[in-house]
């Protein structure tokens, strides 16, 4: 286990150390101490390493992640795992707004609640939230899966493209062009796998699925102004 204490190591130096880890590094386990809400912790990683952040983080923790597994033993500020490409980010606490925004791949697990705009413009990432999510989540989401074990806020899935949304609790309101869809066997199978990987105990049968009605002008030009 390698330890980087942010009380002693500057942010850039810390990130540079993590960036320097090659594909075949032997130093696969890293621990970051005293994050104290700092921004851009463990951003832009590209190696199969495991990073544990002991505390809460500020903006953009784990942004642009490739391959790495990042555990945040606290809560995460805005834009956690933004534009993630692959790998895993797990947050023990809550996540602030736009968690997993624009993510292309990988798995983001939020064990607490996520704030507004969770998964906005997601492009292939899988997001599993054990708690609730805030308003405007999955706005313009293009692909990937958003799984919410609790409730969803207002305007879920507004202007959605092909992303799948699964919510176990209530949905305050659906956004434009977002509708409830039937849950088919392949969706239950997909959900079971995601819930299992995210360590969630909810059963797939308890969820409802939402997706795009494909009626907006992006799908039907006659519906443009």
């Amino acid at each position: 286990m390698q330890t980087l204490d942010m009380a002693e190591v500057a942010l850039r130096e810390m990130n540079a150390t993590l960036h320097a880890q090659a594909e075949a590094t032997n130093q696969t386990a890293w621990e970051i101490l005293n994050p104290k809400g700092a921004h851009a912790i463990a951003c832009g990683l590209d190696a199969p390493i495991e990073v544990t952040v002991k505390g809460s983080t500020g903006y953009y923790c784990g942004g642009m992640n490739k391959q790495a597994t990042i555990h945040i033993k606290g809560s995460a500020g805005p834009g956690v795992a933004e534009n993630m490409m692959s790998g895993t980010v797990v947050i023990e606490g809550d996540a602030s707004q736009y968690a997993g925004a624009t993510g292309h791949g990988g798995l983001l697990v939020i064990k607490g609640n996520a704030s507004s705009r969770c998964g906005i413009s997601m492009k292939g990432i899988d997001i599993v939230v054990h708690g609730n999510i805030g308003h405007m989540s999955a706005f313009m989401a293009q692909s990937g899966n958003l799984v919410v074990c609790g409730d969803a806020g207002e305007a879920l899935g507004d202007s959605l493209y092909e992303a799948r949304l699964f919510v176990r609790g209530s949905v305050k309101s659906l956004g434009a062009d977002c509708i409830e869809k039937e849950m088919r066997p392949e969706h239950l199978e997909l959900l079971a796998d995601l819930l299992d990987r995210a360590g969630a105990t909810a059963r797939p049968e308890e969820f409802r699925r939402y997706g795009s009605a494909r009626e907006l002008y992006t799908f039907k030009i006659d519906n443009a102004y």
Binding site: G77, G93, Q97, S116, H135
Partner: protein, 308 residues
């Protein structure tokens, strides 16, 4: 961008440290707003007296025997404490209006920063650390306070464009965001006879609250109505004689984090601002909901519920 901090103490033994705790929080938010900074401190030491805080660009001339001149004009004892560009004038209760009119007459260049029995506002252009040092905020004690670091977007970087804005006796407002209907609202409020000095958007927000309260709304009601009438982005923190309140617009892009323990309720634009508070590791930390008015008060009959 802008940064906001707020601290409401439940544990009275922390009161002597309010200024130093709040200063630390404020300085952490420097990169969210390095243009100017301000702080509102509430202290219950002299509730039988009223205070007006004035600011001058030329303190040596303007503050020269100001206490004597105001005292003569209002026919009551007035004491003065000078801190850099600010002076606190202390007088018996019930004379604030009279004193304010006298100051406007005697020293027209002076700007009123705040008025009330508990509230003192200090604000200036410059880095938060320099502003706090200049007024020795770190030495101040009090029951609660709010602070602001400004990154100007809607109007010039001036003392009067800095936050907090005084909205009435013992009330003030800080804002992170930008109001988009401030020009039309300013015209409307001016027609209603509300004094608005600058082109700043937050001053319009503050004047809006003052106007609502003049029409009989409590501060809580005024904030509820602001959700309908103010367009744009805002996270507001308001200070009252006995506590503080928080409200965010329905879109809520401007960040807000709160922490509560048995000792305090704290507000920060970011969690970073809260990390040095005692017991933060065990605190309940959450984000205030959009379009929801929150208040914390030291009394059972909080002023934000009373009609002005």
């Amino acid at each position: 961008m802008c940064g906001i901090v707020g601290l409401f103490l439940k544990d009275r033994t922390l009161e002597p440290q309010l200024g130093s705790m709040l200063t630390k929080m404020l300085v952490t938010m420097t990169d969210r707003g390095p243009d100017s900074a301000g702080i509102a401190i509430y202290s219950t030491d002299s509730m039988d007296k009223s205070k007006i805080v004035v600011q001058s660009d030329d303190p040596e001339t303007d503050f020269e025997q100001l206490d004597l001149a105001v005292s003569k004009a209002i026919d009551a004892p007035v004491s003065m404490t000078i801190a850099s560009t600010h002076a606190v004038l202390t007088m018996p209760n019930g004379l604030i209006e009279k004193a304010r009119a006298a100051i406007a007459e005697l020293r027209p260049a002076l700007r009123i920063m705040s008025r009330g029995t508990a509230l003192e506002i200090y604000k200036e252009v410059g880095l938060p650390k320099d502003v706090a040092d200049r007024f020795e905020i770190g030495q101040m004690s009090g029951t609660h306070g709010i602070g602001h670091t400004r990154m100007a977007t809607e109007s010039a970087v001036t003392t009067m464009g800095a936050h907090p804005f005084n909205t009435g006796d013992d009330q003030c407002l800080v804002h992170n965001g930008s109001l988009s209907n401030h020009n039309s609202l300013r015209r409307k409020l001016r027609r209603e006879g509300i004094h608005i000095e600058t082109e700043n958007d937050t001053e319009v927000g503050a004047a809006y609250l003052t106007w609502q309260m003049q029409k009989g709304a409590s501060l809580g009601e005024a904030l509820e109505r602001s959700l309908d009438d103010l367009d744009g982005f805002f996270t507001f923190v308001v200070g009252t004689k006995d506590g503080f309140g928080v409200v965010r617009d329905p879109i809520a892009c401007k960040p807000a984090v709160m922490a509560e323990t048995d000792q305090y309720v704290a507000f920060g634009s970011e969690y970073r601002a809260l990390v040095d508070l005692p017991g933060i590791e065990e605190a309940r930390v959450w984000e205030p909901e959009p379009a929801t008015v929150y208040f914390w008060s030291h009394t059972d009959q909080p002023t934000h519920e009373k009609a002005a």
